[in-house]
Subunit: 346 residues, 3 copies
């Protein structure tokens, strides 16, 4: 079950070019392509004639041409050419999905097209600001439900266990972090304070901290699948009043989870460097370190999915570190229920 | 659902030798072998004792010996030896299937053995005529239903889209070909005329055409899975009266589609060269070019199968180029219905 | 369907060390590990918090620590540490399974722990007697039901067909072997006599027989999955009174079949050399020859499983060599029925 009336990341904008791209989103086979005007478009990836996947075709002036018998579909999904046939009946069409290109993403709306308001897209302007926030991005295919990856980001006590060899450090530091939590209409926001703590070696190397430091992480989950992260560090004492303006090191991570099927998803993520912006090596290093840690998340969450697929979640026990995760899950459940209710009322 | 009372190609005759061959046909596991008299035979590939596949056994004087505990079955499927046991009860037997070796094929009858009339086998004597029709043959396993491969051959407008890099040429030439269509009791026959057309480069190279040419393709579908093809070309004007005797280039292709499962099949095909019979390289070239094109068909049809398996055929739209294909499908549906009716009446 | 209240071999004792081992037993995901006191333990391989497999964790002083959020479970399955949480509610626990380390095996009890009596474990003291019975052991994963592997060992007429290239020899010798059969409460015992027979080349090479010999094999099946084997050979005439004390060559094989799923199992086996105990090469050779033969069994039984999975066992025909196998199957069916009855009566 997926939230349908929502924007999902379909692809990084730079993934979509002249060659059609096949991608399953919310368990629908979708073909993504750019038309001759360079506008992204998304259609059901199945020709309405004989069912061939449209991603095997090619972009032509009038739209996307099926690679089997040459039917052409425009970006609305209407067939505009049937070779050898003059009249085209109206139902010679495939389903199309609203798409918007914004902040280096192509977003897609899998629900009722009439409700597809681009204003609802989560903004992430840092992808457009190469001066202050140079970034690198990629996508990891994950053999686990998107929600399990969001779960992962909502309980950061896992850092001391999953990421021991990368960004983890001392488990108790993460377990004992002071938390500020705030619910929002579409999710939850939380801040983790680790004041007067020993800096990770990578921080020391990056900005030359001498002694203990103040650390802070700000997260926001926005349904259905975005997690926005800001991380900063400053000399010890600087964050004591809750103000992080004096950070010596800061970066932003974007986590976008898009369901492929009920048990697999796409993990679109970027790392934007906000402290040594004129040094491409700093951005690259941040990206590489982050990527290594996310592969550790992938491994544990995929293994978790296999167990949950077999044995279910009904006997699991929540613990104190699940607080934010449960906020998040309640929001998603509420949105799913509202959507089901609206559908039933139609 | 398969037509059961029909001859299917089980194998090329040269595939069946001393070593038993396992092949699933119409979703039944079959073992094919030659007995000590060199006669082909087909049994259910499962010993009636403990279920071991018989293809793991070996051919002995009395028949096929199971590789697990040594039971021997004759070509009728009757067990003729149980090691250490004197009496053999009658039901110690496995199912056998009628087989006929003809025209380089081994044909098998998957239905009621009493109805297995060899006269119903589609003849293709060209396989026996190495002087006038030297040929080469092979088999492609296809991850798609046999019917989807027959569909492919019944709508040749696909040539301009699927085979752009091989035998395709100009799409409109194939779309605009003049068609003569004739229904038959077991299928459909059609002729495609492309008069006064530009010869494909391969034709020019093969027989030295100087200007435009007349082209013709004659196809016949014979249920359940044979498609017979003759292709010819002559100097422009030669075909104007519908007579193709003056062809300068001609070849015959045999397409035999045998269901393995509901969604996979075997594509037995041959290319017989009728224009430069004394040149083995001409036959080889024809075979290689044909094979390359058929791999393109395989790719698109397998991708089509995946979509149809997931989303079904019910919402598809027929177009004008489906005429012959629909004739073919109606014939197959009629034969299936007749078979179901006969079975219900028993 | 598996017998639950029984000891199964979970692993060779030397497979279980500091790193947790994941193994599916009777279709339950189990994690095996040794605690800091070197005692083996077995838990359900799924954390009760978020479902992560516990085998991704690590052994710590208090027990097994989950690799996701750091919960720690003792060998009874009780959670003894939740990071960041003082009180631990009682149901924060995972299922544990009784285990016993004995005779180089770790045995596990998959049923009601209250009935797990270590006295019921099949003893095999030869694994502890390196002087008289030096041995080597391993485990083969098999893509077939455990019962099909036991079947294999209960009808040794297969030796002349499956093992033609290894230990088989003349089929009729195995078919004609004189059999003594004795039922036991948990299985069946049988002795095969092949008196006055030609020695296999390996026997000649091993102990220098000059002419014909007397051979004997003693087998016992003990439910749910152990087959104990003694094999001996002596100068011709020595076994005439049924006494095998004068054997010149003897060895013992242990066959332990543990269900992984309904259609896969683990084959734990060892070869103990009782005739040239001071020669490690003799033990090694016995192990290698035995292993080669067992791989032949694996191949045929896996192929058998595929057929039985598809077509069932209901139409199979028993033959005379199935006598012992049917004793065995009746015992297992009786035990399953008793267990079902006891469960229904609760």
């Amino acid at each position: 079950m997926f939230i349908r009336n929502a924007w999902y990341i379909a692809a990084w904008a730079d993934e979509i070019g002249a060659t059609p791209l096949a991608r399953r989103i919310c368990n629908e086979p979708v073909v993504l392509y750019r038309d001759r005007q360079s506008q992204p478009a998304a259609l059901l990836d199945m020709c309405c004639h004989r069912g061939a996947p449209l991603h095997l075709g090619r972009v032509v002036d009038q739209g996307l041409e099926c690679g089997y018998h040459g039917l052409i579909f425009d970006r609305s999904g209407q067939c505009v050419c049937v070779p050898g046939q003059d009249r085209i009946i109206e139902r010679t069409r495939v389903r199309s999905f609203p798409v918007v290109e914004q902040d280096a993403f192509v977003w897609v709306w899998m629900g009722d097209p009439a409700q597809a308001d681009p204003a609802k897209i989560v903004p992430w302007p840092y992808h457009n600001d190469a001066v202050n926030w140079p970034h690198r991005h990629t996508m990891y295919p994950i053999k686990a439900a998107a929600m399990l990856m969001v779960d992962n980001l909502m309980d950061l006590t896992h850092l001391g266990y999953v990421h021991t060899s990368t960004i983890g450090g001392n488990p108790s530091q993460h377990v004992d972090a002071k938390m500020d939590i705030e619910r929002t209409p579409l999710g939850v926001r939380f801040t983790r304070w680790m004041l007067n703590s020993i800096p990770p070696p990578t921080y020391v190397k990056a900005v030359g901290f001498q002694g203990r430091i103040d650390r802070c992480q700000k997260f926001e989950f926005v349904a259905p699948g975005a997690v926005l992260q800001w991380t900063g560090a400053a000399e010890v004492g600087e964050y004591r009043d809750g103000n992080t303006d004096s950070s010596k090191l800061q970066f932003r991570l974007f986590h976008g989870l898009t369901p492929e099927t009920e048990t697999t998803c796409f993990y679109f993520w970027s790392a934007a460097n906000g402290f040594r912006q004129d040094d491409p090596a700093a951005t690259e290093l941040l990206f590489q370190q982050t990527g290594a840690a996310f592969l550790e998340d992938k491994a544990v969450v995929e293994a978790q999915q296999a167990r949950l697929t077999e044995l279910g979640e009904s006997n699991l026990v929540d613990i104190v570190s699940d607080t934010v995760r449960l906020h998040m899950r309640r929001t998603v459940d509420r949105l799913l229920a509202e959507e089901a209710q609206a559908l039933a009322a139609e």
